[in-house]
Symmetry: C2
Subunit: 221 residues, 2 copies
Amino acid sequence: MISDKTAAAPPGASDLQRLADALAPVGDGGLRERKKRARRELLIDATHRLVDAHGLDAVTVEAICAEAGVSTRTFFNYFETKDDAVLGHVPWPVESDAARTFAAGGPSGHLLADLQVLIGAVLGEPPVGRDRFTRAFELAAREPRLLARHIAWFEQHKGQVVALVRERLGADPDRDPEVVASLAMFLTHATFLRWDAAGGAGEGADHLAHVVAELRALVAE
Amino acid sequence: MISDKTAAAPPGASDLQRLADALAPVGDGGLRERKKRARRELLIDATHRLVDAHGLDAVTVEAICAEAGVSTRTFFNYFETKDDAVLGHVPWPVESDAARTFAAGGPSGHLLADLQVLIGAVLGEPPVGRDRFTRAFELAAREPRLLARHIAWFEQHKGQVVALVRERLGADPDRDPEVVASLAMFLTHATFLRWDAAGGAGEGADHLAHVVAELRALVAE
DNA sequence: CACTGCAATTGCAGTGTGTGCAATCTTGCA
DNA sequence: TGCAAGATTGCACACACTGCAATTGCAGTG
């Protein structure tokens, strides 16, 4: 157990419960929801702490669970893979007003420009804290195995982009939705690279703008 | 053992040896080299056969080794992972005359056009048989786990491209080698997608040309 | 507050991947 | 033929991950 019993906690109030309560303002559901989220955070934090201390390969799932005070079986109810916990992967919903605007052909009517707007919007609302996100990105850059999983997680979202592009383009034979979606992935990926190289500073949309500008220059040249 | 003892084989001539002998014209090394390559092929073939018959998850390394007549321990001397055997991964050397030309600033002087030439050249000399390559790609398209590994293997080569781009560009502050290399990866990836969608028909360079044209249209629009 | 439906946690036993090590066999070479 | 280097193998083992059945905890109802 990790709990520091400094203040006399009310009986029955576990670490988990306190954490869940602390999340109350954010949580929109009942106690059940909050606890679930809290435990997820707890596990990811424990994982990061141990990996920082001992390195990825020296950390076992068992150790993580001991640190978090949870059974190993429960761990695998939260994450498919040990690596997923390390990366703190959470689905990143592409749906939004921006997505609907894009699918409808807006806002400008120029495919590339609108793609840039869409990606910028998605980049603006990450599903997890920015610090944790960049942390995951750094780890992935170092460990090839994690990179594979990171890319896979990333690639999972391509399907949503393909759907949006397809909706926008209809049956245009000159545009392959797969290729357009791949381009979107490239833009996002390159943006992340620059973002990471900048130490996580600045806004995603700005880095994205730079990448798009570079692409335009490359093609125009 | 799987060997069919139909014809009376000369004593001492195992399946492996015969296979190694068959590879003799291709092999440049001694018997040792040929046997090693032969065994590699043997294992990949066995893996493909079993995966085709029973599906990826139903095939164990043990079964593969039984089929190939090799100990499981040996299997892992050849491949880091079961998935690597399924995909038949082999490093794809980017170095070539085309690579040196590109690094030197040729052949046309236009970065994107020359990138296209470079990728086309690399695509023209795959390190393994084309049939096996497309087979691997199909498998990867179906199984998300394999896709991850495939992309990771793919991404491993980015370093070489970055080096080439850096050599070509020198210290141009307006061009980020990472971004250019990512673009190259995107072009290659999209080419593979089209190639696969076409059932493996046609030349890689042609599909690539189509992708580049689409990119130009997108940017110009 | 007692009661009940349902979700989450847990223990346990088992499968399969992948590794280190030492013994054994094969190949290349003198 | 005999020796040194390389490859294969068996064995023991750590670890990731899964299915199942039992238990615990939350939420809503009367």
